[in-house]
């Protein structure tokens, strides 16, 4: 009897927490359909804000920039990071520890410090370059944005892929060599496929971090605007419900991605289970 009460209490509590977590998002979504600009009184249904959002050049170009930066930085970070993981694994324990500790810096440091320190570096490089006219004038902008994003993405790749590499059975690789593969072939045909799931998930993490990042971009964007920076500048002006419409769309896109990946996951999980209960192994 007592435990049933307890369970009910628990359940109500968790539901309550979820309510609080989703309430603001729900409010945003509801008021994206509001006819007037009021943020508190719902006066009537309209889709106008969505329409004006899709003709808002500032938002669209910011979105395009965000996607470009996210894709390029995620690809570069994944490639360089995966190579680094392989290289680091060949090193001695002491240098591994040192490199890992340094790599932790962007993860552990507050974002504002990463942002500010990179900005100082870029300013410094710019000043050096202006003496030799080595760098183009518009150094701040896409180049700095990409460098910054790659920098904070790299550690996530390394920390995602290296455990997988450590777990891998090294005898597979040796077997491949024994069977006549060159080291290069062995890497691409045997090791890489093993690592693919980890690399892919690292890539996705990079992509989402990069699209979501505001603080680091804020200090290093030059004259450009990524989507979060555009959102920031929108919240500082007379606010239009376009921003609600934007949030709703973003939320739905994320929901869709998560549901799809979830469905794929569970299908794979079921298949693995039917193939000799492999899924049960931790």
């Amino acid at each position: 009897m007592k435990s049933r009460h307890l369970r009910l209490l628990q359940r109500t509590y968790v539901v309550l927490i979820f309510c609080v977590m989703y309430l603001p998002i729900l409010v945003l979504a509801v008021f994206s359909f509001n006819e007037s600009k009021s943020r508190t009184v719902f006066t009537g249904f309209t889709l106008d804000w969505y329409r004006s959002l899709f003709t808002n050049r500032m938002i669209l170009s910011a979105l395009a920039l965000s996607l470009v930066v996210a894709l390029v930085s995620a690809v570069v970070a994944t490639v360089v990071g995966t190579m680094a993981t392989v290289g680091i694994s060949a090193m001695g324990r002491k240098s591994q520890l040192l490199i890992n500790n340094i790599s932790y810096m962007p993860v552990v440091n507050p974002e504002i410090i990463t942002g500010v320190s990179l900005m100082l570096l870029f300013v410094f490089l710019q000043n050096c370059a202006s003496r030799f006219e080595a760098l183009p004038d518009a150094f701040f902008g896409l180049p700095t944005l990409l460098i910054a994003h790659i920098t904070f993405n790299l550690p996530y790749v390394i920390f995602n892929v290296s455990p997988k590499l450590r777990q891998m059975d090294s005898r597979i690789y040796e077997a491949a060599l024994d069977l006549g593969c060159t080291p290069r072939q062995a890497f691409f045909k045997v090791v890489l496929p093993e690592l693919t799931p980890a690399i892919l998930s690292a890539f996705l993490i990079c992509l989402t971090y990069s699209i979501d990042d505001f603080i680091i971009s804020y200090f290093n964007c030059g004259t450009l605007q990524t989507l979060p920076i555009a959102i920031y500048s929108m919240t500082r002006k007379k606010v239009s419900p376009e921003i609600n419409a934007l949030s709703t769309i973003i939320f739905l896109v994320i929901l869709a991605i998560i549901l799809i990946s979830n469905a794929l996951d569970s299908r794979r999980y079921k298949r693995e289970q039917s193939l000799g209960k492999a899924g049960e192994r931790r």
Binding site: S52, M58, D137, A138, T144, T223, L224, K237, K238
Partner: protein, 414 residues
């Protein structure tokens, strides 16, 4: 105010007129860009078409007719007209504009700072001299708006808009209409007062309240006025800039100082609001179009300046943002509401008491910057002792950690 200005203005106007090309074009040879905007036909707008040029324009938020709320989109009209792409971004105070450009690396092509900041940027060599051969439309600008002391012969700047500050209040939330800056210190409005979130404007409010000049000449003067701002802190709900629009229109606060042109927009949206020029006097400002020294497409930027001085464009901007225009023809075309608005075009009585910002000496400027962050971080409760508590806490945590480690070591040994 305007009258005191004329001596310089005449000299400058002669100079400016000397540089300008033919007088305003006839309606017949205008190029029509869209139904709202036609530009003069004797200017070669197309010379950069197809060259893939992008202009980086950096402006105050809500300071151009951008196509929202059924207004005219003057930027896309410029792109259609010239084939030049515009990357338009916004800032929220002169100081953040300065920091962004000063930090280096960022290269904007057109910026719109206010008077005192233009003076400072000129002193520091951050602006490029303009070639008026490319900006013939400057002839349309009224002479009294040219030749300000910050840029006496308009070598670096073309006036965009002018205006004054003032006090906006919500008539339903005040007992009697405020008429003085001192009302912003009134404890009956505790939690209902908004304040400028930039040093010069906030300083000006406090200085005027004290009957002092809004241009401090010494560090002591700065300290005196900043003390006044610290005293105000317990009354202030929030330090904001363009957020004032939403907050005042939504009835979130009773009093807010802001720019007169924005007050017009706010009153249009919420008739409960009203505007007053406080009796101590206000700040008179001129915001001007400038080109930074490291601009890469100067001629295209000058074309943008010229475009902004087109009567149609000026009219669209003026109607949308409500600020006061320096272009005579634009003023003539305005609706009577705006044209004879006491807020946008205040009486000589108000203007006589108005004071413009001047560029401060480097010493006073840095004192003001520091005092401003002091003021912002000032805490009435004086939580300095909290630091001590945290130090002790940090120490306790590290001792605890060491103790744990020792204990673990001991345990491992046995």
């Amino acid at each position: 105010m305007r009258r005191t200005l004329r001596p310089w203005a005449c000299a400058a106007a002669v100079l400016a007129l000397g540089l300008t090309a033919a007088p305003g074009a006839q309606a017949a040879d205008k190029i029509q860009v869209n139904e709202d905007i036609s530009v003069s036909g004797d200017y070669d707008w197309k010379r950069f078409e197809g060259q893939g040029i992008t202009l980086n324009v950096y402006n105050w938020g809500l300071y151009i007719s951008d196509g929202s709320e059924d207004s005219v989109d003057v930027i896309s009209a410029f792109e259609d007209l010239t084939g030049i792409k515009v990357n338009y971004t916004t800032f929220d105070s002169n100081e953040s504009l300065y920091a962004k450009i000063k930090s280096g690396g960022v290269s904007y092509d057109v910026i719109i700072p206010s008077d005192y900041m233009i003076g400072r940027m000129i002193e520091e060599g951050m602006l490029a001299p303009l070639d008026y051969a490319n900006i013939p439309n400057v002839s349309g600008i009224g002479q009294e708006y040219l030749g300000w002391p910050f840029d006496a012969d308009n070598t670096y700047s073309v006036p965009y808009m002018w205006g004054t500050t003032g006090l906006i209040y919500n008539t339903t939330m005040v007992q009697e209409a405020p008429d003085s800056w001192a009302d912003m210190w009134d404890v009956q409005y505790t939690g209902n007062v908004l304040m400028f979130n930039n040093s010069r404007d906030a300083y000006a409010v406090a200085a005027k309240k004290l009957g002092m000049s809004l241009n401090p000449s010494s560090v002591e003067e700065v300290d005196r006025v900043i003390e006044e701002l610290k005293a105000q802190k317990s009354v202030v709900q929030a330090y904001v800039m363009d957020e004032i629009f939403d907050k005042m229109e939504g009835g979130e606060a009773a009093l807010a100082p802001y720019y007169a042109g924005d007050a017009i927009t706010m009153i249009q949206d919420n008739p409960d609001l009203a505007f007053v020029f406080p009796k101590e006097g206000v700040n008179f400002f001129v915001d001007s179009l400038c080109i930074p020294a490291n601009c890469k497409n100067k001629e295209a930027a000058e074309m943008f300046l010229n475009y902004m001085c087109e009567p149609d464009v000026g009219f669209a901007n003026c109607e949308f943002i409500g600020y006061s225009t320096p272009i005579q023809e634009v003023w003539e075309r305005l609706d009577d509401d705006l044209k004879y608005s006491e807020i946008a075009y205040p009486s000589d009585e108000v203007l006589d008491k108005a004071e413009a910002f001047t560029t401060l000496s480097a010493e006073v400027n840095s004192a003001l910057d520091t005092a401003w962050s002091d003021m912002k971080s000032y805490d009435e409760g004086g939580s300095g002792w909290m630091v001590l508590v945290f130090l002790i806490l940090a120490l306790a945590i590290s001792v605890f950690n060491i103790w744990r480690r020792v204990r673990r070591k001991l345990r491992n040994e046995y």
